[in-house]
C-alpha cells in the first residue's frame, strides 16, 4: 500500500483544496484527514459516518479534597505550576505526568484517563475515509494522527484498496512528525511568498530528517512568479521533485463554498487543469 501525505509548513496554502481535488481524480483510495486539530476535508467530501469511537489518551490529575492534607508536596514537585494554592489542579496546565499522583502520601490524587476527541470511519462519494476530531484545547494530537493513519490503512486493507491520501497538519511539530512516519512520499504545497518559502524550507528539512521522499508544487504561482521560482530552485537543489504550478484561481474558493472539489465545480478551470497534471505526475512518480 502507498501513502501520500500532503503537508505545507505554513497553514492556508491550499493543502485541503488540493487533496480534495485528488479525491476526485485518484482511484482505489482511502481518504485520511490527519489535520486533527482543525480538520476541514469533511466540509468538502461530506462523510457519512459508519463508526464513531472515543479517542482516549493521556491522564489528568484530580485532587480529592476530602483526603488532601495540604502538605504541599504535589505543588513542590509539579513542574507545570498546575496546582493552585488551594490544591486544585488546572486541567489546562496539567501535563499528565503523574508525578503528584505517584508521590502523594495520602493517595488523595486521582489520575483518570482523558477522552480527548473522537475518530470516525466513514463513506464518502470518493470512497472510504478515516477522520477525527481532537477536543478543543486538548493534547496528544500526535497520537491521534498516528491512530487515524493506522485506521486509514486498516480500512484500505479491508476494502482491498492500495492508496491512502492523507491531509496533513501545518507546522513542523508533533502532529506533523506523527504524519510522516512510514509515508511513501510527501507532497509539499507551497505558496510563493516570503513566509511560504521560509516555511516550505523548514518542512522540507523535516522530511529529509525523517528520510521521507518529498515533492513540491507551488500554489497561486502567479501571485509572485519570482518567489515561486525561488522555491522551485531551492527544491531542485535539495533533490525535491518539482511537480507543477497551480495558478491563483478564485474557482477554488467558489468550489469550497459549494462543498465541491474543484474538479466537480469546474473541470475546465485553470486551477483544475493544473491540479490534474500534478496528480498525473505524482501518481506516475510513486508508481500507481
Amino acid at each position: 500500500m502507498k501513502e501520500i501525505v500532503i503537508i505545507s509548513g505554513k497553514g492556508g496554502t491550499g493543502k485541503t483544496s488540493i487533496i480534495a481535488a485528488f479525491a476526485s481524480l485518484a482511484e482505489n483510495k482511502v481518504l485520511c484527514d490527519a489535520d486533527v486539530d482543525a480538520a476541514d476535508l469533511h466540509l468538502i467530501v461530506d462523510p457519512k459516518i459508519n463508526e464513531q469511537h472515543d479517542f482516549e489518551s493521556g491522564h489528568t490529575a484530580i485532587i480529592n479534597q476530602d483526603k488532601c492534607t495540604e502538605c504541599g508536596l504535589c505543588r513542590d514537585l509539579c513542574r507545570w505550576n498546575a496546582i493552585s494554592e488551594d490544591f486544585v489542579v488546572d486541567p489546562i496546565e496539567c501535563e499528565g505526568c503523574g508525578v503528584c499522583y505517584y508521590f502523594c502520601p495520602e493517595k488523595a490524587i486521582d489520575f483518570p484517563l482523558n477522552t480527548c476527541g473522537e475518530w470516525y470511519l466513514s463513506d464518502t462519494r470518493f470512497g472510504p475515509m478515516a477522520h477525527a476530531r481532537l477536543g478543543i484545547a486538548e493534547e496528544n494530537s500526535g497520537k491521534m494522527v498516528v491512530l487515524i493513519r493506522q485506521e486509514g490503512k486498516k480500512l484500505a486493507e479491508e476494502k482491498h484498496l492500495d492508496l491512502l491520501l492523507t491531509d496533513g497538519p501545518p507546522g513542523v511539530g508533533c502532529p506533523v512528525i506523527a504524519s510522516l512516519g512510514g509515508a511513501t512520499a510527501v507532497l509539499i504545497v507551497a505558496e510563493p511568498t516570503v513566509s511560504g518559502k521560509h516555511d516550505m524550507e523548514r518542512v522540507a528539512e523535516l522530511a529529509e530528517f525523517f528520510k521521507i521522499p518529498a515533492m513540491v508544487c507551488v500554489n497561486k504561482f502567479d501571485l509572485n512568479p519570482d518567489m515561486g521560482q525561488a522555491i522551485e530552485a531551492f527544491a531542485k537543489e535539495k533533490n525535491i521533485g518539482v511537480i507543477g504550478r497551480v495558478p491563483f484561481d478564485p474557482a477554488f474558493t467558489k468550489a469550497m463554498v459549494q462543498g465541491k472539489t474543484i474538479v466537480e465545480f469546474d473541470s475546465r478551470s485553470e486551477g483544475c487543469k493544473a491540479v490534474r497534471e500534478i496528480w498525473q505526475t505524482l501518481a506516475k512518480s510513486i508508481d500507481i
Binding site: 503523574g98 508525578v99 478543543i136 513542523v172 508533533c174
Partner: protein
C-alpha cells in the same frame, strides 16, 4: 496589555495583522512570535537581532554505576521515555516531557538531568519595537515549552502583541493563556468559519474577551458575519482581498508600508480593542 492574535485555520492573516498592528502603534510595544514551528513575523518586521539563545529542556541521563535496575523510573514515566532493557536503562530523550519524575523516584540517585535542545530564541529591535521569537529545532516535536519560554519575555506595562500558531490544541493554548484580549483572524469561507468556531471554543474555555478581523472579506460568503452576529462577537476590522496587498505580502512588505493609509485603520483597530479589554 497582552493581545494574542490567533485563528484556528492557518494562512488567514495572523502574521499580517500582528505585524501591521505592532508597527502602527507609536507607544511602547513588543511583538512575541509564538508560532515557533513556522515563525514568520521576522520576515516582515526585519529586526536587528541582538541576542540568540539556545533553549533546552531537562531530560534524564542514567549513571549505570549507581543504577540497581529496580525499574521505578520506567514505572513512573507516563511517556515511555525511559525503559529498562536487560542490564541497562535506556532514556528516549525525544519522548521526555521533562517532568522530573524519574529523577525524583530513583532510590539510588542514579538519574541526573541534561538538556535536549528545543530550539532558539532571537531577540532584537526595529526602531522602538521590541521583537522576540522562538524557532523550534527541526525534528523537535514539542513546541509548548519553547512557547512558554518566549512568553517569559513579556514586559509588564508595555503592549505585548503575540503572533499565535494555527489550530486549537496545546501550542495555541500556550500562546493565548493569560492574554487580555484575543484577536481572531478569519476568512469568510467554509474552512475559515469551521476553524473559527473551534478557535472561539478555545478562547471561551480560557474566558478571554475576543473580537474578529475578517481578512479577504469580499471572497467566499457571508456566513462568518452571520455567525459573529449570532454569537455577539464584534467584527473589529475587515480587510478586502486586494491583489496589491497579496503581492506586497508575498515580497515581505507590510500593508502599512505598501499602503500607508492603512496605518490609521490599524490604529483604530487597536483603539477598539483597548475599549473592549479596558
Amino acid at each position: 496589555m497582552i493581545i494574542s492574535i490567533a485563528s484556528g485555520k492557518g494562512g488567514t492573516g495572523k502574521t499580517t495583522v500582528a505585524t501591521n498592528l505592532a508597527v502602527s502603534i507609536e507607544s511602547d510595544v513588543q511583538i512575541l512570535d509564538c508560532d515557533v514551528e513556522e515563525p514568520n513575523s521576522h520576515l516582515f518586521i526585519q529586526p536587528t537581532v541582538e541576542e540568540v539563545l539556545t533553549i533546552t529542556t531537562p531530560v534524564p541521563e542514567v549513571d549505570m554505576e549507581k543504577c540497581s535496575l529496580c525499574g521505578k523510573c520506567a514505572e513512573i514515566c507516563q511517556f515511555n521515555a525511559i525503559v529498562v532493557i536487560g542490564e541497562t536503562v535506556l532514556p528516549f530523550q525525544e519522548l521526555c516531557h521533562s517532568c522530573g519524575g524519574c529523577v525524583e523516584v530513583c532510590p539510588e540517585k542514579a538519574i541526573t538531568e541534561t538538556g535536549r535542545e528545543l530550539g532558539i530564541i532571537e531577540k532584537g529591535h526595529r526602531n522602538g519595537l521590541e521583537f522576540i521569537h522562538g524557532k523550534l529545532r527541526v525534528g523537535e516535536a514539542m513546541s509548548p515549552p519553547l512557547i512558554r519560554k518566549v512568553r517569559e519575555y513579556t514586559r509588564p506595562g508595555t503592549l505585548t502583541i503575540i503572533d499565535a500558531p494555527p489550530g486549537t490544541s496545546c501550542p495555541v493554548i500556550a500562546s493565548m493563556k493569560d492574554a487580555d484580549f484575543v484577536l481572531l483572524v478569519t476568512e469568510p469561507t467554509p474552512f475559515g468559519l469551521h476553524d473559527l468556531k473551534l478557535a472561539v471554543g478555545a478562547v471561551n474555555i480560557l474566558g478571554i474577551p475576543h473580537g474578529l478581523v475578517i481578512n479577504r472579506s469580499d471572497m467566499g460568503n457571508d456566513q462568518v458575519k452571520k455567525y459573529a452576529q449570532a454569537e455577539g462577537i464584534p467584527v473589529l476590522m475587515e480587510i478586502p482581498f486586494d491583489r496589491k496587498i497579496a503581492e506586497a505580502y508575498s515580497r515581505g512588505n507590510m500593508i502599512v508600508e505598501a499602503m500607508p493609509e492603512w496605518k490609521g485603520k490599524f490604529l483604530e483597530l487597536y483603539h477598539r480593542i483597548e475599549k473592549i479589554a479596558g
